[in-house]
Subunit: 237 residues, 2 copies
DNA sequence: AAGTGGTCTAGACCACAGA
DNA sequence: CTGTGGTCTAGACCACTTT
């Protein structure tokens, strides 16, 4: 049993169990909590932390007095924070991007409020078409607080913006608030996404914040209704 | 300090803290974990359970070595399992329903598979227009395993179906899988929702299961794009 | 009766932030 | 350096399901 350093035990255990679960049929019983505790030489509380996560993700269900079982899962994801790049890889597709426009400009009232800066403060605006397996999936416009990202204009925006923010500026989006609505696409949007005008699309607005709750970016994404869906498991309590 | 019986301490503490938080400005510091532990006479682990939940909900953020703070929250909800009735009340609107149709029929292949019954098994189908403040918000078609709900045909379907399932049949939906897409409404849907044909709408398909992972209901809901949105906070890990 | 998950405790050590 | 949140432990009792 090789344990990877600097990773909390419950996270490692969670990943280990997730692998096991993939090889089991639905409703198969997992070892008991006390059993897992012995097997992996961790406390039962640590086992519970790992199982709690798997439960919230919808991968397992628990019955008091009976045991823990593999969920009859078709969806095993909770909605979590991931970039377009990561999202597409998870869906088994190859992501790419086409940069449409990029400039520095005054934030304006709306964006300024969202990002917690003055109207006149500078923001970087990046507009990209994002593709999966070379087919356009969505249109994405991101505003980033200018003071946080000096020199961003020179970066290669065909790769993951989140990756650039992390490696070049040590900015990591740890939390985000999202609002999802259904909209009909405009002529311009339709042309860029190669779909008919007024087609249905999913409009996602996200404000991404760092670990101290400071806004980093505000992004508006228009997803093709016929190419994208949102899947997740929810729970009572 | 009155403690309500039969409720786990961490749930009670969570609710108590949530009330406190509502009265505080963003970024205000919360008492330390050890402090809360003393104040409420619970272990630090119990305090952490409560704070963990508030953190996942997006109501607070934590900085190691510094403290716990009120989030600059505009959205403090995680996506959770709630009925239309509950959802609308949370949004400050008055929910109501109009029953369009209700019948018993063979499940068929698709619904049968979703509900884990044979094609020929009976399901109850309920179609309703759901309103908020007397304005139509969505069109909802629910299929329920017939064997689980004898006599449901006599029930008053203008009230919450989830409530009826719970009180009359002891069926509680504890987990659900959802798939959200954007669609253009058909002529019939448009008429029922009082919007133009081909308007954009949010299509939500949900399969609700009990605590043992047995499917109870399969529901398809068409939400007006101009009257409904999905709001939630997401986190890294 | 035996075994399971659900809750709770008191204490320990660590990594990190701030004065 | 002190205090904070992050992790982990060993043990206890409860509510519940199954035999």
């Amino acid at each position: 049993m090789t344990t990877i350093p600097s990773v909390p035990k419950h996270e490692w255990l969670r990943a280990t169990l997730m692998d096991d679960i993939r090889g089991l049929p639905p409703h198969a019983p997992l070892p008991t909590e006390r059993n897992l505790s012995d097997t992996y030489n961790v406390s039962r509380d640590t086992v519970r932390k790992a199982l709690d996560w798997l439960h919230t993700s919808g991968a397992i269900y628990r019955v008091q007095g009976a045991g823990t079982f593999v969920a009859g899962m078709t969806i095993t994801k909770t909605l979590s924070l991931s970039s377009f790049t990561r999202d597409m890889i998870d869906r088994g597709m190859e992501p790419s991007s086409k940069l449409l426009a990029m400039d520095r400009r005054a934030a304006g009232r709306v964006i300024g409020e969202q990002l917690g800066v003055a109207e006149s403060d500078e923001v970087v605006r990046v507009t990209r078409v994002r593709l999966a397996n070379a087919r356009p999936i969505c249109l994405e416009t991101t505003h980033i607080v200018g003071a946080l990202v000096p020199g961003l204009m020179d970066a290669d925006l065909t790769e993951s913006l989140y990756a650039i923010l992390d490696t070049r500026y040590s900015l990591r989006v740890m939390r985000a608030e999202q609002i999802v609505t259904a909209v009909a696409v405009s002529e311009i949007e339709a042309a860029l996404l190669a779909i008919p005008t007024h087609s249905a699309a999913m409009h996602v607005h996200r404000i991404g914040m760092d670990e101290r709750d400071s806004p980093i970016e505000s992004t508006t994404t228009i997803y093709r209704g016929d190419m994208y869906d949102l899947r997740f498991a929810v729970h009572r309590h």
